[in-house]
Symmetry: C2
Amino acid sequence: MLDDRKLAVLRAIVEDYVSTNEPVGSKALADRHNLGVSPATIRNDMAALEEQGYIHQPHTSAGRVPTDKGYRLFVDRLSQVKPLSAAERRAIEAFLGGVVDLDEIVMRTVRLLAQLTRQVAVVQYPSLTRSSVRHVEIVPLAERRVMLVLITNTGRVEQRVVDLPEAVAEDRIAHLRAVLNACLDGCGLSSVPETVAEVPERLPAKDRPVAATILSVLLETLVERHEEKIVFAGTANLAAADFSVGLRDVLEALEEQVVLMRLLGETGGLSELTVRIGSENPYTGLRGTSIVAAGYGSGDKELARLGVLGPTRMDYPVTMGAVRAVARYVGQILAGS
Amino acid sequence: MLDDRKLAVLRAIVEDYVSTNEPVGSKALADRHNLGVSPATIRNDMAALEEQGYIHQPHTSAGRVPTDKGYRLFVDRLSQVKPLSAAERRAIEAFLGGVVDLDEIVMRTVRLLAQLTRQVAVVQYPSLTRSSVRHVEIVPLAERRVMLVLITNTGRVEQRVVDLPEAVAEDRIAHLRAVLNACLDGCGLSSVPETVAEVPERLPAKDRPVAATILSVLLETLVERHEEKIVFAGTANLAAADFSVGLRDVLEALEEQVVLMRLLGETGGLSELTVRIGSENPYTGLRGTSIVAAGYGSGDKELARLGVLGPTRMDYPVTMGAVRAVARYVGQILAGS
DNA sequence: CTTGGCACTCGGGAACACAGAGTGCCAGAG
DNA sequence: CTCTGGCACTCTGTGTTCCCGAGTGCCAAG
């Protein structure tokens, strides 16, 4: 049905269209790629490709443009992820080297990715639920008020102010803190609820109400923050890529955390690339845009995802290379810190 | 030079132009505002206004458009800040009520402001340097590694991992923590450097190297974070307001923290409105945009600033009202929490 | 199956005309 | 001295027409 030459033609169309942003005609193809056949032949192939929905012509007597289905085939079978250049690699290291706190890592990563791909970059904060407890701290603020601080192995810090049902002396707090840390240290966040259940048993009876209050806030923190935080950067690149229409819609979508979450997609394997092309996309306002995303994490656990969003007409091999490289690098950094 | 009627004409021009986005002519003015004079008279006044640079005509035989200077006069002398409607007030309370952590307050505030004004909102995190220490925590992570956590009275939390020069037992850490808190509690962040100097004296000699390491990191944190964090939202509104040109430039500017900082401007009085119109603006890419900003804070100290950015052609009275109201409300929330 | 030839289609730019909005100026009336 | 109506003039934006060229589909021959 689709012999090798037709595939070659499709590949050529995608490449040319991506680089010129103009519908590509049979003549131009024959000139720029040496396919060894005449324009007429190419026209026949194009007719076949259009027949099957891989390409499409905006109007009679214009060149052809790849459809979403065409890009899909291109990504799946006609292209290879392009590794980064040495210079780009160095840029990544320079950009992410020597960062200390999580906020900064995420911030820099998102900018780096935007700059590297010249598109809009999206990075999800390392998930709370998939990481583990490094430390729990209880800080007395007033007689009946403490601040609960939760530190995860990814360096994320969550804090909450807790009003206590009664005044509690510092040493009782200290004991509570010790017990809590003994139980929770290294515990995966998803298993905190069960683990925490055994805490009261280890406490004197009089401390249990206070503990209960604190624990409920702790659990609440975990649940609430399940909706993860996401940041993006590089919206200026949107304006540059003369976006056909709907720039407005795209900007709106970007400000909806929920939409962004869904965009980054379900977790695949670690560092495995997910590509969503145009209409494959769950969100209506984002037809005309593609998303390339990957999970990142330390060790073998996927902590969160990151990716870029750009016009369907994007350079997939390069973009995919950049996303994958950044995802891996961030993973290393998180593991190392 | 500018009699009352001319001012009235200018006001009318600004109002009409803001609401229609089309150059306004003498006829339309005479119709829509009852100025009690004929179009011909208005034309004479307009000629005078143009002579003095308050308005300008895009081409012969088009209506007039206010210049930056015209808007400036309008803001300074011809308009009053418009208070929010009851519904808007309720919206603010609903939106900001019952928030717990600082991140969330800022996040919601920026969205609220964007929604209220239909423009791009910009909010600076409460400044570290202008707030004070509520608590310092030192959390042992490993034998020679601790996490330093700084909690401010605005609820902001900063953390840093510190590698120690030697292994230190928990009780020594505890003592250090106690001393540190005793010295710093309630201390304004700007005076931390001096205050911290006396800490070593209160420690046994053998703890001093460790303390020095920790303190230097603490000070570093304060300095580094002097460059404040800023967030924005509502970029979709930019696309809606059919921005003459340079949407790209605007988006770029928004992603430059430094530029944003300068935009929000130097601190005026608390809740005092700063308005920068078009070319009054320090940044080249932002000609054609105006900024309305205000400081916010708890009590009488200004902690940070917030504001909105939109086309020069904006509804100043309404925008100013919204910014001021939000600034006040956020101030209250910070004070109350 | 490939190729060259050919007639056909259609979008986009250039040239042009035109209506409408708005102006400036002037002379006359309060 | 100020206001007003009248009038001629100047533009822009829009709609129309026209034409060029790129690109196609189809066909008949190699």
